[in-house]
Structure formats: C-alpha cells, structure tokens
Subunit: 160 residues, 4 copies
C-alpha cells in the first residue's frame, strides 16, 4: 500500500472566479489516479493547502509526523516546488521508508501541465527505490540534500 | 542515456480529417517530454507505426534487434497494449538491460488520456529497476511472462 | 427555446479501447453546454450516430422531419462535415425557421479541437439570423447552396 | 473585417512559475482563432493587460477611443467579466457599429474553460447583430444597460 500525503503547492491550484484568483483547492491526485486508470493500492490524505513558500517549521513537523506515523513503507508526498528540498531534508530523519516527493511547475488544472507526468514518474519511483528520501522532478530523481530548484531555468538540478 | 523506441499503438493515434479517421501519426513522446520539462538524457527512435494487433514476427524481430543493438542499458519501448506482453516475452532474450514497455488506453491526443502519466511512470521505472523486461501500466509494474491485458476490464493484471 | 438535433459526425467521435478504434459515441453537446456554463433554454435530441459520408436519403428525411415537427423556430443541427451542405440543401424545404448546422474537423474529445468554438459560434448564429438554413463553420456563416467543404484545405469555402 | 481588441481579464490569465502566481499574459485570442481554424478576416490589438476590477475611467476612455477610431464596423472586445457591463455602457456612446464584448469565467489556459466557446459565440454575434453594444456570455446576448454579473451564481443575468 502506498500512502499519499498532499500539502498543496502549484499542482493543486485552481481558479476561483468569485475571487478572481487562483488558490489551492482540493487535492488533484484522487481524480488524476482515477482518470489514469491506476490500480496500485493507495490511500490519499490532504495534510494542508499551502504554497510551499508559506510552510512553517510546524507544518514540516506535521508532514514529518504523518509520514512517520503511517504504517506504510512507501510514501508519496505532493508539495510546492519552491521549498520541496527543504522539507525533503527534514524527512531524512525518518528511517526505513521510501519517501518520494513530487509536484508540478504548472497546475494540474491547466491544459498544458507537468502534473500527470510527474505524479506517474513519482509513483513508479516510490515502488522501486530503496529506503530514503527522493525528489522526483523533470524526469529525474534527486537527493534533496544535493539539489535545488533553479527558478530562472524552471527546473531542478543537482548541486554539490 | 535512455534509448526510447516507439512502435505505434493507441498512444500515437491522431485524427486525420481528410480521411475521417484516426491513424497512428508521428510519435507523441518527443513533444510530451518537452512539454513536461524532462531533462534526463534520452534519444527517441520511431521504429514503426503499427497497431499492436498487426505486429508480425518480423516486426518483433526488428524491435528486438534495435534494442539489442543499442549501446544503452536503459530502454523504453512504447507499444500498443493488445500484444504488449507478447513482444515483452520476445524481448526477454536480451540480457543485461532494463527494458520497460508502456503505452496507453486512450491516445495522447485526447483531452483525457493516460499517456502522460504512463510515460512518466515508465521513465522512472526504467531508471530504477534492475535488468529485465517489464510492462509498466495502470501505475503498476508487471512481468510480461505473468500478466495479460484484460480487455473487458480495460486494464492489465497479473496471471499465473 | 432552441431545439438541438445531433446526427453524429467527427464532433462526436470517442475512442473505444476495447475495439481499438474511434466510433461515434453519445452526443458531446450536453456536457459541452454544461461545462461552458450555457444558460439559454434548449433541448438536445440525438437523432442518429453516423459519419456523414454514410447518411442515406432516408436519414436526411428523418432529420428533415424532426426539424419540421419541432415547435421551435430556432434549430441547431450538429452533423459530419463531409456532407453537411447536402443535408443543408434538403433542409431548405422547411420555411419559417432559423436552422444552423455545425460540426467539427477534430473530435470534441481531443485536446485540440474546434468543437467548443464551433458550437458556441453556431449557438449565437441560430439566435440572431433570420429564417433560413446556414452552415456555421470556420468562424463564418455559409449558405449550403453556395458552399463546399474543401477537404484538401481542411475548411469550408463559398462557391458560386 | 472584424477588429478585435483585448483588454485582459480572466480569459488571458496564465501561470508564471517564477512568480508562483497567475497573471494576465499575452492575448489568448490569436492562438485560439488559429487552432479553431477561423477564416473570417480579422485583426487583433492588445490594448491593455488588466483585471477588469482594476480598470480606471482613463482605461475605459482608451478602449472607447480605440473602438471609435477603428475603420471597422464590427468590433469584438475581450474583457474581464467583473466590470464588463460598466465598460459596455461607456461604449454605448459610439454609434453605427456592432460592438460585442465577451470574456470567460475560467482562463483559456485551463483544461476546462469557457473561453473557446464564448469567443466563438461572440464572433458569430458580431457578424449578425445590428449596430449596438452587446455582452455575449453564457450562450446568451445581453444589453449591458440591463444586465449584471451575478458573482454568486457565476453567470450573467438580465436586470431591469
């Protein structure tokens, strides 16, 4: 069983006409897994609806506690991209689980979005990688300790 | 470097108005990888444009020869779903490479399609699994020797 | 009240995985009008599910009879593009109604399709034009008696 | 020739990852008309990129002046929905032209958006209606003097 925790981020942004703005809405991932005909056993829990720039230390503790408390050894976390590696470094305190983080540069609600691809990519990574914490973005697997989001280039890259 | 071979199948079907019908067009995967901001080194080769029900033994030999001749040890093959496991069994003759097959139930050209998700899923699987031949569909990894496409259920499943 | 009759054509093609082919499915227009937040009073009736190349004289009589029998004076007909003008000429026998025909070059189920635009265009035309029969395609209004589908160019054009 | 002026609004919102927010981008309408295979002669001018709640009296004068100065008698204006009727009332000072305003409740960049449909609808209205100013939304044609956007209901409606 794969335990999926959602925290918000770009992937879950939808447009609210009554507010004339985009906000983080319900987690995109349940509809996404159904539409993509996914049959691997899983459970989805929405932990929070936050832009990752707004995540506090307490939020990271909440995420960490939820992952640690899960009986599952395969954990997928969807997360805003801006501070994904920061949360990833905190999650490294948890031993014995394969923890894969992903998100998207464009909301899942857009016509052209990397959300479906990235979640597919992460869902394979979480089933196949050994215990540890990984960032699954841009069709690559990164170590959160040695990677950064390069905002100007619009992608993640390895950094010593 | 990941060597990607395309053979046709549902994933590559597009609508030709002048013919009033859908046919297999150019491989969907290059645009897909670009739109999804994929940065892992790869190369794409279109081997054929066939529905997998029409693949002959000679076609399977062609696919096998291309995979064997590649200097890459990580190979992704996009393929129609109907005979994906048949080709997968033939590919088992090749040792020392991680070969992952995927495709989709709905063309990549459709508004609702499992193509992006499946290719993302397969692209992680090919980077993380040990040498062998795998079918990556429905968010799961199957052994082509012990799996079938269940047409009625619209999904792959394990079979002894 | 606008009476909408659907007859099939490219606009209604969907992919059936179990058959490995596209076929004309349920009319696309009810979901389309709901998704586009359309509030003009209307009713939708699916008359047939046919490629317009396969429409017979009897089919055209059926369409004509349904339009003539409707108590509405504003009628929208969705139809395959190949013989849209042929049916349009038959409908000219009906006096006193504004009858607008439309369809699409790419199925409504595709990511890039002219279906939504064309139906929107036709829905305004049917509310604003005087009685007569019109083909509403390519952002233009044509007289079926003096227009043809130019297959090579992928568009309709006026012809003397 | 139809002269199309864009002013911004929800229809033109796109997601800028580097800012983690949606902003009004380039006008959506040129790509939209091309993708929808529109062949009616037209010209597109982007006048401004503003949420309609931020439009000032000076902005409305700018829009009015551009419409008045156009040699075309058929004018389409894309505009945010919140103050569309306000600008429409200002445009009523212009005589002898058919001026149709439209926009969308969901950005054209979204998977599910009313943008294509509404622009199609407005493009027919502008070709068929007599001189005057009209709001073309929700598959209906409104007089800006006697209509409002009902934010709670997410639609326009007539008001005495």
């Amino acid at each position: 069983m794969i335990d999926i925790f959602t925290t918000g981020g770009t992937i879950d942004k939808v447009y609210f006409d009554a507010l004339s703005e985009f906000q983080i809405g319900p987690a995109a991932i349940p509809d996404m897994l159904r539409e993509n005909n996914v049959h691997v056993p899983h459970r989805v829990t929405q932990l929070m609806r936050k832009d990752s720039l707004e995540l506090t230390d307490e939020d990271r503790e909440t995420i960490c506690a939820a992952v640690a408390a899960s009986e599952a050894t395969h954990i997928l976390v969807t997360h805003g991209t801006d501070t994904m590696v920061v949360t990833g470094r905190v999650l490294k305190a948890i031993a014995g689980k394969t923890i894969v983080m992903t998100g998207s540069m464009q909301p899942a609600s857009l016509r052209v979005s990397d959300a479906d691809f990235n979640v597919g990519f992460a869902l394979a990574a979480v089933q196949t990688l050994p215990p540890g914490v990984y960032v699954a973005m841009n069709g690559m697997i990164f170590d959160p300790e040695h990677s950064v989001k390069d905002r100007a280039a619009g992608r993640f890259r390895t950094e010593a």
